[in-house]
Symmetry: C2
Subunit: 572 residues, 2 copies
């Protein structure tokens, strides 16, 4: 710490960055009920200890759109405990605050409210879990902003076009433009980027003096053709992007070589899914910005319950048992109990009995073990030239491809005429529009059913039968455009995002820094959506059935385990 | 106003009293959606305009136990708008605030919090609508108290015994002891009073210098033998009781001649039921306390939608039509439309067609008209000596007596042996206990069914058949005690409540008032539970079938109407 403190001076912004706190997650669980609360407490305490200028949250402060009373009460209490007090605020806001804070009747930063004594301002965008709903477009954060405890920003009220107007902050000689965009359904935002409906405003003067920090809460990993936001869509005048929503902690900034900005993905402060990305150590960040230089120091979270995950391939232990070994199941169970392992054409054993043995030692006995059985040998879809529909369908089901990928491939191979007849089917346009507008679960399901039936009927007409009950999302295509046109639009969107660099002719490397930059973390070997130095696939393991690729085993199982005892700072 | 201001000085507490704001009531109604919000705004504005020392709310600030986001957001916003600011607070708190404000981690009055700039402290008990629930025992008010916007007091955490510790306030030479008790199921609280489990603590010194103000949120009108709180249960050292929960505005203080204290019943600030009590003009009160003297000035609420109610007896218009008149129904409808009226063996007409005519003129077209048909001639039960069970059951059904009354009468007449066999029935005690403990709807229904079946079986064994589907509540009796013992206990509870007057030997008339005491309001002619000068039955019309007594008509109908246009101050 002492060496870091030498970095601090009157020109250096000191910002605590965290995201996806998911307050209230599993709050009814007998063991883990306090986890999310303990960690928010740790984060706020850390901010106070480090005397940061402000806290920046990347969305999903709350796990539920309508947090429980306990959840709101705890949050309010902690914010009042840690973020109110006499420490002076050492930065100013230069922008029009009525534009920045447009969700309350108090459109000014909380620390400038003469009736509130704020020591640590919190700036937060909303996430997909705590997004605005209802006729008033209010989200849970707005209760906090009405109370003066949080500064909710980055809420776009228009679905037609998004103008992101930065909060312009100045501390000493450092100018920080803080951009934010609360969660929007990925497909809609993707489309808006492509259609040139997203604009990031910039101060007219001294453009090259500003450090441009953007907070976003979207899919970073590619969950489908348009179900994520490519980094290349983001303007290249940015210096650092704080990427929320993705739960894997990849907090060490990675450089996007096209846009020449950095991206930090702090990851959630609580593990909410049993995926490898959640098993890595959780961190928050202490970001320092001085002039155009930055330094990100990662701080491990102590209260996060450690989660272990391990794939075990039973086929690797043929010396111990094969599917034909007498009492193989029992032996496998014993083996798993002793060492943690399993796989290869074996019968599954009773997991709840198995779990019983861990009741006193792990926090998630019920889901400690998962059986995964590969249906079929993997084949590389990318090599397909002449589409074999039957194979395509099967492969998709096995590999967990979305129907949108599937249908896209189908259209790319099918004749133009068939394509049009599919897409102009009465009611289809309306249903898609409803989905786009409302992102409503019912509409999705309805549409999926509708589309699956249509698609399957077409495929069946060509002798294809689907064997799998495919869980899927939906196709987004404009029936008037062909693939080339669409690709051109995407390319244009990316070019627009790079325009600023060409304009200003400078090199974003200025924003680099370097002493004490946090070490890059280990990442899994995921595919990267664009040839950029982003790290791993983030929450890619959310996809269905695609785990353990390349091993080719028939059956494997996954161990997931939370420690039962959790190091917790007791809340005051 | 000018004459009143002469009353104000540095020794005079100026308190705005209001209750049952029911924020969020009908917030989804197309016409009345903003009513409750407009009125809270008016109340807070009124408090600010009158520069009161504090606001005292008698419970049910929220209509829903879990208020909507809009509701919480509006409430927080209005409180922050009106109750924060630079006006100095001119009174002190002398009591132990950790005892007074025991529901937050900030156990001190909000205006003494160094991080909040409060101009008007709000003190509130909770009501039955916004009562504490869940493992944490939190209520919606606690979100406001955690935010520092409201001082929630009077929350008893024990179900074993209640100690009401006053907030001791001093302004100049005036000492005000503010007692509060948040809503508790009436039967339980009644029983606790009888069992001497309720204690109101008093400061040891200068007892006769304190003005003792008590806020309570319970049934004041008798809804059953133990389903209300008799004023006589309340300690006679009190000077004024602010009675919440009852919606009828009976704000002019009435004197209880036994206890020699005054009771003011401000009534709700929004009409939530179509009863005569809700049709009277709504008011809030400006209470001044100087030494042991008080003055209550009633302030009419301007934003409350006026509600009209009228009983129309068709039998009074035999010159126009009788049930035998050709096209009587049509004529009655026309008559009603023209003048508002109806009754006496007539057929009912189509009310929704009727209502259509008022769509543009009233706010509640759907329930503008109610047909009521008396089943039978009333008879006076009190004269019964030899119980005729059949008659008793019938009368009860007609008169809307509760089964508890009925069973009580039955027991009073029946032999001791039968009584015991009924009450010691297996499971009965447990069910009653559950009801007492949880006040849970399911438990009640279960118990009612159980008890009704038992009772009816006993009655039927004596040749009685019940013709009515009786909607009822439940008997509370200790099977070990006979009626005389119970009556003695109640008498003792009342004697205890009067003990202080005997002790101190003074006369509570000191607390009397003076100039400009609000005029008593008109009240309906209800029965009074005790020979006390209380006014009317409050929400007595909530009872079933008891309306319009003494008229003896066969059929009548009730008109209820809210004005459609509402004078509203637009919220800022």
């Amino acid at each position: 710490m002492s060496s870091e403190n030498t970095l601090d001076d009157e020109d250096t912004f000191k910002i605590l960055i965290a995201t996806d706190v998911h307050l209230g997650y599993l709050e009814k669980d007998a063991i883990r009920c306090n986890d999310s609360y303990n960690t928010l407490n740790e984060i706020l305490k850390c901010a106070k200890t480090n005397q940061v200028d402000f806290i920046l949250l990347g969305g999903d402060l709350f796990h539920e759109n309508k947090p429980s009373r306990r959840c709101l009460h705890s949050c309010i209490t902690m914010l009042r405990q840690y973020c109110m007090g006499d420490s002076p605020i050492r930065f100013n806001i230069l922008s029009d605050q009525t534009v920045n804070f447009n969700t309350t009747q108090f459109p000014w930063v909380n620390y400038q409210d003469e009736n509130l004594n704020i020591s640590i301002p919190v700036f937060s965008i909303h996430g997909n879990h705590d997004d605005p709903t209802g006729a008033e477009g209010l989200c849970a954060l707005d209760l906090l902003s009405a109370s003066g405890l949080v500064n909710h920003f980055g809420h776009s009220h228009s679905v037609e076009r998004i103008e992101i107007s930065p909060i312009l902050l100045q501390k000493g000689s450092t100018k920080l433009a803080l951009y934010g965009l609360g969660s929007i359904p990925d497909e809609r935002l993707y489309r808006m980027f492509v259609n040139n409906q997203v604009t990031m405003l910039r101060p007219k003067e001294d453009q090259d003096k500003w450090f441009n920090l953007f907070t976003i809460h979207q899919n970073r990993s590619k969950h489908g053709p348009t179900n994520y936001i490519p980094e290349q869509f983001l303007d290249d005048f940015l210096d650092l992007v704080v990427w929320g929503h993705e739960h894997e902690c990849l907090i060490a900034p990675t450089r996007n070589e096209q846009q020449l900005f950095y991206v930090t993905q702090p990851g959630s402060s609580v593990a909410t899914s049993l995926s490898p990305g959640e098993a890595t150590k959780k961190h928050i960040g202490l970001l320092r910005v001085k002039g155009r230089k930055m330094n990100l120091h990662k701080i491990p979270l102590k209260t996060v319950r450690q989660f272990f995950i391990q794939d075990v391939v039973l086929g690797d232990y043929q010396d111990l048992f094969t599917p034909d070994t007498p009492h193989a199941t029992k032996k496998v169970e014993e083996f798993c109990y002793a060492k943690v392992d399993y796989s290869g054409g074996f019968e599954t054993f009773n997991t709840s009995r198995f779990s019983q043995r861990f009741v006193d030692r792990v926090a998630n006995p019920k889901d400690i073990i998962h059986f995964l059985r590969r249906r079929e040998q993997k084949e590389d879809i990318k090599d397909e030239v002449n589409v074999d529909y039957g194979k395509l369908i099967k492969t998709a089901a096995v590999e967990g491809l979305r129907v949108e990928d599937l249908v896209k491939q189908y259209f790319e191979a099918a004749e133009q005429k068939v394509q049009l007849s599919l897409l102009t089917e009465q009611g289809m346009g309306k249903a898609i529009q409803e989905f786009v507008d409302k992102d409503e679960k019912d509409a999705i399901e309805e549409l999926i059913t509708y589309q699956l039936e249509k698609t399957q009927r077409h495929l069946q007409a060509r002798g294809v039968t689907t064997e799998q009950d495919i869980d899927a999302e939906v196709l987004f295509r404009d029936s008037k455009k062909n693939t080339t046109e669409e690709e051109n639009e995407i390319r244009e969107a990316m070019n627009r995002a790079r325009a600023h660099r060409l304009e200003r002719g400078d090199n974003a490397l200025d924003a680099d820094i370097l002493d004490e930059l946090a070490e890059p973390m280990d990442s899994d070997e995921g595919s990267v959506p664009f040839p950029a130095p982003t790290r791993g696939r983030g929450r890619g393991s959310r996809g269905r059935g695609g785990r353990g690729r390349g091993r080719g085993e028939d059956c494997k199982l996954m161990f997931s385990k939370f420690i039962e005892e959790c190091r917790c700072d007791t809340r005051q």
